[in-house]
């Protein structure tokens, strides 16, 4: 089985990617503005709900319960969806999922597909696979359209084109849509997208979507969106293919009452997003005549088997953790080298891919806990990050110099005598670097500190030395 998470296996490690992006002032400015806006909106609509914490707890419990009995709920979904005229396929990994999609499209002799935003398709590299098979995919979410036409990569789960400003977008649209003139107000750009995409919606016969939620007892699928392109894609074409990660399952239709409150408020800071589409199988005279669901594993069952970090799969892809994260705020999403960025990306990507790749991601955090605070399904991201760091170290993948230093430090800290000796050693070792109680430059890796900060020199007397002398009566 070959699990793939976009291009994560080939991405540069986080510190290097971040260093490069930190120099992009436009990006940093955009990200800061955008996250400020969404944070404020989210805080406002969350404050309105006196039962927000109860909803979070219910969300967590429902997700954990579903994952504990995922086999049952997947089979229940399959039965109900099939009874309603849908077809359910199972894909173990990215290649298998892509193959199924391509076969279904080729069976119709179609050469074009319209797509609704789905990170799952980015995860498996669907677009590249389609193009290699001679099928042209058209992204229809405005941001994904911007990213696709700009031949770029998404930088945020919910607002993928966050890193682009309107002038850049105008440039991209004029070039790729063949427009000789175009205003630069957001309204002008949106109108251009509307016209460009409407032509496709009314003509293309196959659509591909993801799903925000899949309901086991009724076999229903729910898409949560703002723009209306989702509605277009799931109701206009003749065939609809929906990719669903197996963790998207919820047990009952009634459970939507929890997630349709948690998701819009967390993702876009709205009481409810403009459009939700809920459908079951096929409906005569309304929408696609053929409906296919592909249930995707692609590493999820590995995450499921890790009790410590299984909660990672609670994720409903709201993006609130990205908006809350002080690290993401500085770097934007590309630094994570994965379709899944930010705090959730830092724990999901290495777990899906297995730890050979994306090892730097668990360290892309100061463990501040802001993500855990806002997560609508209470994923304890800092805890899982520490767990994954433990795995990196235990596999022997930590840098040699770091391991040596940490082992030496652990040795020194185990016994008070050794500790005092180490403190004395530090006082001696700092002599070449210390002046007036301050160290301004350190060599090697520690130079990262002194590049931008002074370092307090080790005082002549430690606390324990002071205490000892005090006890001996040398001090009042």
């Amino acid at each position: 089985m070959s699990v793939r998470v976009g291009e994560a296996a080939r991405a540069p490690d986080f510190p290097r990617a971040a260093q490069h992006l930190l120099g992009n002032t436009q990006l940093r400015h955009n990200v800061r503005q955008a996250t400020n806006v969404i944070r404020r909106k989210r805080a406002s609509v969350v404050e309105e709900l006196p039962d927000w914490q109860a909803l979070r707890e219910a969300g967590r419990q429902i997700k954990q319960h579903t994952l504990r009995h995922l086999d049952f709920y997947l089979e229940q979904f399959e039965l109900a969806c099939t009874r309603a005229g849908g077809h359910v396929h199972w894909a173990r990994d990215a290649d298998e999922a892509n193959q199924i999609v391509i076969s279904l499209i080729q069976a119709r002799h179609a050469a074009e597909v319209i797509k609704v935003k789905t990170m799952t398709s980015d995860e498996i590299g669907l677009n590249a696979a389609l193009e290699a098979a001679g099928i042209t995919p058209y992204e229809t979410d405005l941001a994904d359209l911007i990213v696709q036409l700009g031949e770029d990569r998404p930088s945020h789960i919910v607002v993928p084109a966050l890193h682009r400003n309107k002038l850049e977008i105008r440039q991209i649209f004029m070039e790729k849509m063949g427009l000789s003139d175009l205003g630069d107000r957001p309204e002008d750009l949106t109108n251009a997208a509307r016209r460009y995409l409407r032509e496709k919606f009314l003509r293309v016969s196959v659509a591909i979507s993801g799903a925000n939620l899949a309901v086991a007892d009724t076999g229903s699928v729910c898409i949560v969106e703002s723009e209306g392109n989702g509605r277009m894609c799931v109701s206009l074409p003749e065939m609809l293919i929906t990719l669903i990660g197996i963790e998207k399952m919820i047990p009952t239709f009634q459970d939507l009452e929890v997630f349709l409150q948690l998701l819009p408020r967390s993702a876009t800071g709205e009481r409810m997003n403009p459009y939700n589409s809920i459908w079951t199988g096929v409906t005569p005279d309304d929408g696609p005549r053929e409906f296919h669901v592909i249930l995707l594993d692609n590493g999820r069952t590995s995450v499921l088997s890790q009790q410590e970090s299984r909660d990672t799969l609670n994720c409903i892809r709201c993006g609130a953790c990205l908006n809350a994260c002080p690290v993401y705020r500085q770097t934007g999403g590309h630094a994570y080298g994965s379709v899944y960025a930010g705090p959730i990306g830092a724990i999901l990507t290495p777990q899906l891919q297995s730890m050979e790749h994306s090892q730097s991601l668990p360290y892309a955090s100061s463990l501040c806990g802001a993500c855990y605070e806002v997560c609508p399904v209470k994923i304890n991201i800092p805890e899982i990050l520490i767990d994954l760091r433990g795995e990196v170290v235990e596999r022997g993948d930590a840098p040699f110099s770091e391991r040596a230093v940490m082992k030496a430090a652990a040795f020194a800290l185990e016994k008070p005598g050794r500790f005092s000796a180490a403190q004395a050693l530090a006082r001696v070792a700092q002599v070449p670097f210390e002046r007036d109680g301050v160290i301004r430059h350190l060599p090697g890796q520690l130079g990262g500190w002194t590049a931008v900060r002074d370092l307090t020199a080790v005082p002549k007397r430690s606390f324990r030395q002071w205490w000892r002398e005090r006890t001996r009566g040398n001090l009042a």
Binding site: N30, D51, A54, L55, E57, A58, Q61, I62, L67, R68, H69, D71, L74, A84, W90, A91, R92, L142, I146, V159, A161, N165, I169, T190, R194, L197, R198, L202, T218, S226, E227, G228, R231, S235, L236, I246, Q254, L256, E257, V258, R271, M272, N273, P274, Y275, N276, S277, I278, W279, T280, G281, T283, D285, D286, G287, D297, T301, S302, L304, S305
Partner: protein
């Protein structure tokens, strides 16, 4: 036969390590302390719905039952329109004289695209979130009918308005298997510099008549 389905299910069973027998009792034991019942009376509920719809930039007109016909007429005239599409099951008593209403009997997408707009009722409305729920196909017609035209006039009756999302979902669960669309304001995007722009796809203008 070791198909993908079998392999995935096996991996799940090996991974989860939980007992199938515990599923139902676990499910019943899940802690649900969030609000599920209403606290507002009818008037407050209706006012809240109107308030939320206004927040989204939808126009809301209120009328009493006998005045519905007239209200429909004045709203359509106010938008300088003369002809709207309607779903086949729309009550004919809602339709005022002086306008053309074309029922959706196998309209093409082009015909929908060329129309001046669509008039429907709704299945229910949720006050807290300002949400209108459409039930397809009987009721509000097929999905494309309220999607392709650029203008949507929606009739909401007072007794269709619930307060909370859980109440709304309970109502929606009764419509077994039919497609449902929830609408909370006109379509919008904030993808361009976080500036909210309304009207991407879907009807750019939504008018609501609330009938009491």
């Amino acid at each position: 036969m070791n198909t993908a389905r079998e392999q995935i299910l096996k991996r799940i069973r090996d991974a989860s390590g939980s007992l199938p027998a515990s599923r139902e009792s676990e499910s019943e034991g899940l802690v649900r302390e969030y609000r599920t019942i209403r606290t507002l009376n009818l008037d407050a509920r209706l006012d809240l719905l109107v308030d939320r719809l206004h927040d989204y930039g939808a126009m809301v007109y209120r009328c009493a039952e006998p005045g519905l016909n007239q209200a429909v007429a004045s709203v359509i005239a106010g938008r300088a329109k003369s002809a709207l599409l309607i779903p086949p099951d729309l009550p004919k008593t809602w339709l005022p004289e002086g306008f053309r209403f074309r029922s959706d009997r196998e309209l093409t997408y082009s015909e929908m695209d060329a129309s001046e707009g669509v008039l429907t009722g709704c299945a229910l409305a949720i006050a807290v979130t300002g949400t209108i729920v459409l039930r397809h196909s009987s009721g509000e017609g097929r999905r494309t009918l309220t999607l392709i035209p650029d203008y949507h006039l929606c009739i909401v009756r007072a007794n269709q308005v619930v307060e909370t999302v859980p109440e709304g979902i309970r109502e929606m669960a009764r419509f077994k298997g039919v497609p449902l669309t929830t609408i909370s304001g006109p379509s919008a995007t904030s993808d361009i510099e976080m500036t909210r722009v309304q009207g991407v796809h879907g009807p750019r203008i939504l008018d609501v008549i609330l009938v009491e």
